[in-house]
Symmetry: C2
Subunit: 334 residues, 2 copies
């Protein structure tokens, strides 16, 4: 059923397994050692960056299926996407898996979007299991959105670093663990008029705030009910703006509010400017940190708010501002 | 519930309204005069082709809402996408509408994908209404996928013409008309190894056949139960291949099988080579022809099989083959 803007699933939709696969820099960050697979070679043994990203997606999909003790033929459907034009990393990876496939595009909000929709399909009784996935690769994204890597373009302090990372969650109707998706919110698009493609945190902050406000307004829950509220990926600039918007509105976001773009890298030690970004950033933080800590009981209730900047290089070059969106998922230990 | 590969919605999901908006060439074709809005100016009064496509999407979204006698604030959510990198036509249009938004990418299968998922959300009781939409514009697609318009590139006979068209269907839990979505199928990816980006019908034909075979195999229905079985968009090359595959397999596809890419244009009179393509082709054929004829009772049962080629120019340039997908929707008069 729906409570104002929020989907309340009739029964909890269980997280049966999850897996993450990341690059070298991501494994050198504060969450290093927590990912299922990491590589010293960001090419993942492939000839092109695009094949590398595809290989990374396939690895996280396959590992999630393996950890659930399923055969790939048993998987209901895959919901997911990535940043590449026409979402080719995900579709080429799913081609190898052979599952039914819903392609999504939510920019960096794709992981949350896939969970909201995957849980809905299970809630409707239409699927028993759903693989939700998102990914990004620094080298494919950089040349598609900005400059060839060899150019060595300068980046302003507001820029974010696209994570080389993929995360996959296998949702299930059957209870097999203790963590569940209990609620979801499909976001609206907000556009505060930012035209600088190197400041996406600022472009997405309003959407994040509006979706959080809608979530709390609809459910009657309070930010203090959560052990952690995590947007992803606003990084330092966007997170500050969300805190300001919340303060002005009287929404008491406190020290339990953080952002995946700040969790993945150590900004003092790693050259990532404002922090991490890319569909894979929040996906890998979810699968490498949030879900394991929920399983351990460190957290009992986490609000995962995936934020996406719905621009293309062409819209930015044409002088358009950057629309933002934020989808929200409530994860609980039950 | 799910019957093998097919979603069987518990109660019919009603088509409350629908609208189409097309360009000059599309309105000069066999379906001319059947679309809600058409233009003599493919720029839709805008400065750029991208703004034109966006305006066309917004027109079909707005017209569908208007025909349902709703305010745009009453709409549950929008599910949809287009062919442009990062699906910017749809997201920029939805920004103006203010609805909750799930961005999808299914290439030319997007209209069918949005109906399968939109009906699922209503079936789950999570939405009362859902706007399902897809679009494409010849001029934005041509320069993104192939060559600048001014170049006047030669096209082989297997090439298809990207439709300048947008279609939107407003699905509703409440019965307000007589046409309903009763079943849906999420497709698997098939790749017969075609590497020629100018022969997408051949690349998608196997996916279309496999999804049709899965649909009939799961439901026990026969092709002859349908007044029309419509793939979209395989055009002449792909349709022939589907017929061959069906014949080899013993699936009796007959004269009630056609393709949206063949319905939209007159191949003798209009310079479209193998036929139409683009997300907007099947969307506009659905909203300008199939749904009106179902409402009138000309057809009582139509199988709408949206086909997509999940390539990007980059994958084709890198020598990769083209994965195809096909999502299926059963539309019935009830």
């Amino acid at each position: 059923m729906r409570n104002a803007d929020v989907y309340v699933y009739r029964t909890p939709v269980w997280v049966r397994s999850y897996a993450s696969c990341v690059g070298k820099k991501e494994n050198e960050g504060p969450l290093g050692g927590r990912f299922d697979v990491f590589t010293e070679d960001d090419r993942f043994g492939q000839e092109t960056w695009e094949q590398a990203e595809r290989q990374m997606v396939l690895t996280s999909l396959g590992r999630a299926v393996e950890k659930a003790h399923l055969d790939k033929g048993d998987v209901g459907c895959v919901l997911g996407g990535d940043l590449l034009n026409q979402c080719v990393s995900t579709s080429f990876a799913v081609r190898e898996l052979g599952s039914r496939f819903f392609g999504l595009y939510g920019a960096c909000s794709t992981m949350a979007e896939s969970l909201v929709l995957g849980a809905a399909l299970i809630d409707a009784g239409l699927e028993d299991t759903a693989l939700c996935t998102a990914s990004s690769h620094f080298c494919t994204a950089e040349r598609q959105y900005r400059f060839p890597l060899e150019y060595g373009g300068q980046r302003p302090p507001t820029a974010q670093w696209t994570a080389t990372a993929s995360g996959t969650v296998l949702l299930s109707r059957e209870k097999t663990g203790r963590v569940a998706v209990t609620k979801g919110l499909c976001g609206r698009i907000f556009d505060p008029g930012v035209t600088d493609g190197a400041n996406m945190g600022a472009a997405m902050a309003q959407a994040a705030f509006e979706s959080l406000r809608a979530y709390f307004g609809s459910t009657g829950e309070r930010p203090s009910d959560f052990d952690l509220i995590v947007t992803g990926d606003l990084a330092s600039v966007g997170r500050e703006l969300v805190l300001e918007l919340a303060k002005d509105d009287g929404l008491p976001l406190g020290s339990n509010y953080t952002d995946c773009g700040l969790l993945l890298y150590d900004r003092d030690r790693q050259d990532v400017h404002a922090g991490g970004s890319g569909c894979g950033c929040s996906a890998a933080v979810l699968c490498g940190y949030l879900l394991p800590e929920l399983e351990k009981g460190t957290f009992r209730k986490v609000l995962f708010a995936g934020t996406g900047a719905l621009l293309s290089p062409l819209t930015t070059n044409q002088g358009e501002s950057i629309p933002g969106i934020c989808h929200v998922v409530c994860l609980e230990v039950m």
